[in-house]
């Protein structure tokens, strides 16, 4: 769905009206983009895979995540305070690959690559950065110790980062096209997923809600309507999980 919206005609039409100062750095992918994006993605995957040569790293919560992914038992997932999305996705991947250890490594490497690609796209097409600027800024960010440390262990951070980046992309597109409800709904959907990946996603809801209100500050009606729609969408999964837990006692 996200890819479909990215490829809509409106996006393409907009690309021909990029700001004049951008020149060759407009919305259309340049040759630098076509080289930099795959190189960054491949490097991310390779470094993450190399880093986990001794197997996926383990921290305090990892034992629970891995056990939950192995069982994929909804009652087990619901009864704990951990956010459930990471073990669910990992469990599905583990069933496909038939090995939990391999799946956990693969999951982190793919998530790291997706974060890299999303950050490059965000900088390139939503922050008016040129292709080289975006490539260097992405490389500085993802090939840094804090980001690598967050992708070395079996933990939910990798999932959260991916959905955080997708949320920021959707929100940036919404800011450029304030009447586009599809970007708003996408932002809400990605935030909802980020919230069930890590409960720190609640900070994303607050931020995006404020950004939507600020965007529509001159029109009260759309401001309330859009913020409410976003809030309902983004809180939906957390509410479902919380209600399920409450009903389960």
């Amino acid at each position: 769905m996200f890819l479909w919206v990215l490829s809509t005609s409106r996006w393409r039409a907009r690309s021909t009206h990029s700001p004049a100062f951008l020149g060759q750095n407009g919305m259309r992918p340049t040759s630098v983009d076509r080289i930099a994006a795959p190189v960054l993605v491949a490097l991310s995957f390779a470094i993450c895979w190399f880093m986990m040569a001794r197997g996926i790293g383990l921290m305090g919560d990892s034992a629970w995540y891995l056990a939950a992914a192995q069982r994929l038992d909804s009652s087990h997932l619901i009864h704990e305070y951990h956010a459930p999305l990471y073990p669910i996705l990992l469990g599905w991947l583990a069933r496909g690959l038939d090995s939990l250890g391999l799946a956990a490594r693969m999951y982190n490497a793919v998530a790291f690559s997706l974060t890299t690609l999303a950050l490059f796209g965000l900088l390139r097409w939503n922050c008016s950065a040129g292709p080289l600027e975006a490539s260097i800024a992405t490389a500085f960010t993802v090939f840094s110790q804090p980001l690598l440390a967050n992708h070395a262990d079996a933990a939910s951070e990798s999932t959260f980062f991916v959905f955080l980046m997708f949320t920021l992309i959707s929100l940036s597109r919404y800011r450029l096209e304030p009447r586009s409800l599809s970007w708003l709904c996408l932002a809400g959907a990605f935030t909802a997923l980020a919230c069930v990946a890590r409960y720190a996603g609640l900070a994303v809801i607050g931020f995006c809600g404020l950004a939507i209100l600020w965007q529509n500050r001159r029109c009260v009606g759309p401001a309330i309507l859009h913020t409410s729609l976003y809030a309902i969408l983004s809180l939906s999964l957390v509410v479902v999980v919380a209600a399920h837990r409450r009903m389960a006692g």
């Binding site: 001794r54 922050c127 800011r175």
Partner: protein, 301 residues
């Protein structure tokens, strides 16, 4: 204030940080981020880097959220790279794009190119080397509880040899869960509530039960130096070694290079006879200690 140290480590070499006290670190972070934000706000070409402000706003709001969560609710959570990861993911690219946009709009193309080259080489070589060094170390030694030193831990080897009926109470129940998943393990009784810091009413009762079980040979306390190297390293909600010894009236039965076994001596006479030479030599490196100091045991916001 650990958050300030975490943030400064994203952009400043360790050797320079080591010479700064807390106030100095706060000043460096404020001047650095404030300077970049000011330069970005004062850029002549307003369309350069347009949209990057969203990243900075998110990073600031997230930092505020993380700080408030830790200050008012989760006191034991360290503001390390795990907690501040989302801020790093947005603040570092903002700084890069903001610096570039400011330089580009204020200087000639040639000067901009030179500055961009110098900054990229300087920052890239520093962060790149640090990242590569980190990745190579994790590749070589493993990460967190997967660190090679845990695999060689004499304390874990010792615990493996204990009867399965023995209840293991530990400051590293997660370590035991990972390496001895078949064993039933428990955390040490909490002396304070993790969030409210209020004393736990049942602490003394639990300590008495622990003593009774230990006296009957049904329980042992296992402490790992890799989790808490000294009494000062224990989090506020767990009793430290001295408190366990006094509150549960236990004794040190075995002292390993990387841990302690506590219990009641009369119930475990054979433990004292265990020959230490059977254990492999242990190269002490603090498992997980190089990873932002994260104990990885506390719930995160």
């Amino acid at each position: 204030m650990q958050g300030v140290s975490t943030i400064i480590e994203w952009a400043v070499p360790y050797r320079l940080i080591a010479g700064l006290d807390l106030a100095g670190r706060i000043v460096v972070v404020l001047i650095g981020l404030g300077g970049i934000a000011w330069a970005f706000a004062m850029r002549r070409d307003r369309s350069a880097g347009r949209g990057a402000g969203l990243l900075a706003c998110f990073a600031l709001l997230y930092l505020l959220y993380a700080w408030a969560t830790v200050a008012f609710a989760a006191f034991s959570v360290p503001l390390d790279n795990r907690i501040l990861g989302p801020a790093a993911l947005t603040l570092i690219p903002f700084c890069s794009v903001a610096l570039s946009a400011s330089l580009r709009s204020r200087t000639s193309p040639r000067t901009y190119f030179l500055w961009a080259m110098v900054l990229t080489l300087a920052f890239g070589s520093f962060t790149g080397l640090r990242a590569w060094s980190y990745a190579a170390r994790v590749h070589r030694e493993g990460s967190g509880l997967r660190h090679v030193s845990w695999g060689k831990s004499p304390t874990l080897q010792f615990v493996r040899g204990l009867p399965e009926s023995v209840r293991l109470v530990s400051d590293g129940a997660d370590v035991l869960d990972v390496y001895l998943p078949e064993r039933k393990t428990e955390w040490l009784p909490y002396k304070r509530n993790m969030q409210t810091v209020r004393p736990m009413h049942l602490y003394e009762t639990h300590m008495k039960e622990l003593h009774n079980d230990a006296a009957q040979g049904k329980a042992l306390v296992v402490l790992f130096k890799g989790k808490h190297a000294s009494d000062e390293d224990f989090p506020h909600y767990l009793p430290n070694t001295r408190e366990i010894l006094s509150d549960a009236n236990l004794e040190v039965l075995q002292e390993m290079p990387d841990g302690l076994i506590l219990g009641v001596r009369a119930a475990w006479p054979h433990l004292l006879a265990a020959p230490r030479k059977e254990r492999k030599p242990y190269e002490h490196t603090e498992p997980g200690g190089d990873r932002s100091g994260s104990l990885g045991t506390q719930p995160r916001p």
